[in-house]
Amino acid sequence: MSLLAAEYAGHVTGGWGYVTAAYGLTWLGIIGYATSLFLRKKERP
C-alpha cells in the first residue's frame, strides 16, 4: 500500500459531484415546490 493510500485508508475522498447533486436537488425542490404553491394561489377566491 502506498503512503497516500495508507493515509486515506477508511476515508471517503473527493465527492464534490455528490455534494453538488445533493444541494442542487435541495434548491430545485425548494424552487419547484414554491412555484407550485404560487400557481395554486390563483385558485383561491
Binding site: 465527492g15 455528490y18 377566491p45
Partner: protein, 267 residues
Amino acid sequence: MEPWQESYSLSTQAVLWAPIVLLLVALALLATHLVQPNSRRWTWKALAGLGGAMMLAQLYLSLVWVPPEKYMGDTGRIFYAHVPQVWMMLLGLTLNFGCCLAYLFKKSWVSDSLAEASAEVGVYFGAVGVSLGAIWAKPTWGVWWTWDPRLISVTILLLVYAGYLALRRFIEDPEARATFSSVVGIFAFVSIPLVWFSVKWWRSMHQTQSNPQTVDPLMTAVLRWSATAFLCLLIVFTYQRFLAAHARVQREVALPDALPTKGAALS
C-alpha cells in the same frame, strides 16, 4: 461557557448562537401570525425572507466555511441538507397527527386543511431528504440504496402518507374526506417512532442520532443554522398550502364559516 466554547473564534461563536436568536425571531413571527390575524399579510413574507436569506448563508456555511468531515471528507457536507430536511418531515407529519386528532374532537375545517397542508409538506421534505440520503450513501456505503431497517421504515412512512394524500383526492364529500383521512392520519403516525427508533431497535447501517456532545461544535453550528432556515421554509410552505386547502373546502361547503355537523347533508 463550556471550555471548548472559549477556544473558538468570534465568528464561530456567532454562527453557533445566531441561529438560536434567529429561531426565536422565527417563533415570535409565527406566534404573531397565529395571535394577530391582521399581521398575516406580512408575517409569512418576513418568515420567507428570513428563511431565504438563511438558506443563502447556509450554502456558504456548509460548502465553504465548515471544514470537511474527518472520515467522509467533503461528502459529509450533504449532512447539513439531509438531516434538517428529514427533521422537517418528522415535524410536519407530527403536526398532521395533531391536526387529525383536533379534527375528530373539534370538527374544524381549519384543522382539516392544516392536516392536508402539513402532510403534503412533510412528504415533500421527506422525499428530498431520503433522496439526499441515497446520494450520500453511494460514496460512503458503496450503494445508492439497501434494505436497511431505517431505509425500510422511512419508505413505509412515505408510502403511507402518499396513500393518505391520495385518499384525500379520492373522496369528494368534504366531511367524509376529513373524517376518514383523520383516522388514517392517526394510524399513519405510528410510522414516525418506527423511523426514529429503527436505528436503535434493529442492527442498522444508518448511524444513530448524534448530539452536540458527540460532534464538533463547528458541525453543530452549521446544523443549527440549517435547521432554522428549513424551519422557516416549513412554516411558509405549510401556511401557503393551508390557504389553498382551506379555500377549496370553503368552496365545497359553500358556507365559509360553517362547521361540519354529524350526519349533515352537504349537497
